[in-house]
């Protein structure tokens, strides 16, 4: 298995390296494959590996003790994940699960440090990537801690509920996210919570409000 240097060249990490330099760093990478649904990176474990998605899609997520899932990121081809653990040497801050068959390139912390020593300008790319992650995660923190998003979602559901004859307006999760001033990851989680609370249930393309009173209570709860 040969690491494709043209793939590395397309990643934000190594786009500045010449093809000769890429040839010299390619030896530090290894290929990993995972099948659909495989949780190949576990939260809290010590792996110290930075991964790049070569093909397929990976879901980066955290799971609470009660089993509640929060998707932090969807990594597509060219994207990296587990950057934090690969740089600070700490436990993986989140788990990673393949959404279909995936091919990944991995690089260990010690080898990443060799590249950074030999090609210091790569560090500037790393700073930019980590800064954009911090910016995104800060907006997620804001949504999760300061906004009463679930109340807004409850309100949207009550507002747009039809009588089931198919004449009512249809909403995608992206529509609901735009209406509630959040991202679709938070909408997905809010809907799951409403389902667990017994306010709604899913029936394929339908969201059925099974308990209007619970939904109203959640809508009216102070933020």
């Amino acid at each position: 298995m040969a690491i494709q240097t043209d793939f590395l060249k397309r990643t934000p990490y190594f786009s500045d390296l010449s093809l000769t330099d890429l040839d010299s760093v390619a030896k530090f990478f290894f290929e990993k494959k995972a099948e659909r649904g495989e949780m190949f990176l576990l939260e809290g474990e010590l792996d110290e590996v930075l991964y790049f998605v070569v093909s397929g899609v990976v879901k980066v997520l955290k799971t609470s003790a009660e089993g509640k899932e929060q998707i932090l990121n969807i990594a597509r081809p060219g994207d990296s994940f587990n950057d934090v653990a690969a740089f600070d040497g700490g436990p993986n801050p989140a788990a990673a699960q393949s959404m279909g068959s995936v091919v990944l390139y991995g690089i260990r912390k010690s080898n990443l440090e060799i590249i950074l020593r030999d090609h210091p300008h790569v560090a500037l790319n790393v700073i930019k990537i980590l800064a954009s992650r911090v910016r995104y995660l800060l907006s997620l923190v804001e949504d999760l801690s300061f906004k009463h998003v679930i109340g807004r979602i409850a309100k949207i559901l009550l507002q747009y509920a039809g009588d089931g004859t198919g004449t009512g307006q249809r909403l995608t999760q992206q529509d609901m996210a735009a209406m509630a001033g959040t991202v679709r990851e938070i909408v997905g989680r809010s809907l799951k919570t409403l389902e667990q609370e017994g306010a709604i249930k899913f029936d394929r393309h339908r969201i059925i409000i099974t308990n209007k009173e619970i939904l109203k209570k959640i809508m009216e709860a102070p933020s």
Partner: protein, 68 residues
């Protein structure tokens, strides 16, 4: 009624990520454009919608109040 997801072929860039995450084999690329071939199999998991960067796929939900 077999509700269908909405596909906008003009927005599809043919990347195939939606096909790679589809768990029920309902999606294929035909002439580099995503196409739904097995509507009955689609269980509205919306993974394909989540991975699509161009918004070519959308899965609208009908919101209904159940009479008790």
């Amino acid at each position: 009624m077999n509700e269908l997801p909405v596909i906008d072929p003009k927005k599809c860039n043919g990347c195939g990520l939606c096909v790679s995450v589809c768990q029920c084999g309902a999606l294929v690329l035909i002439d580099n454009v995503v196409t739904l071939i097995a509507t009955k199999e689609c269980d509205w998991c919306i993974d394909c919608e989540a991975v699509c960067l161009t918004g070519a796929l959308s899965f609208p939900f009908e919101i209904v109040i159940e009479e008790s």
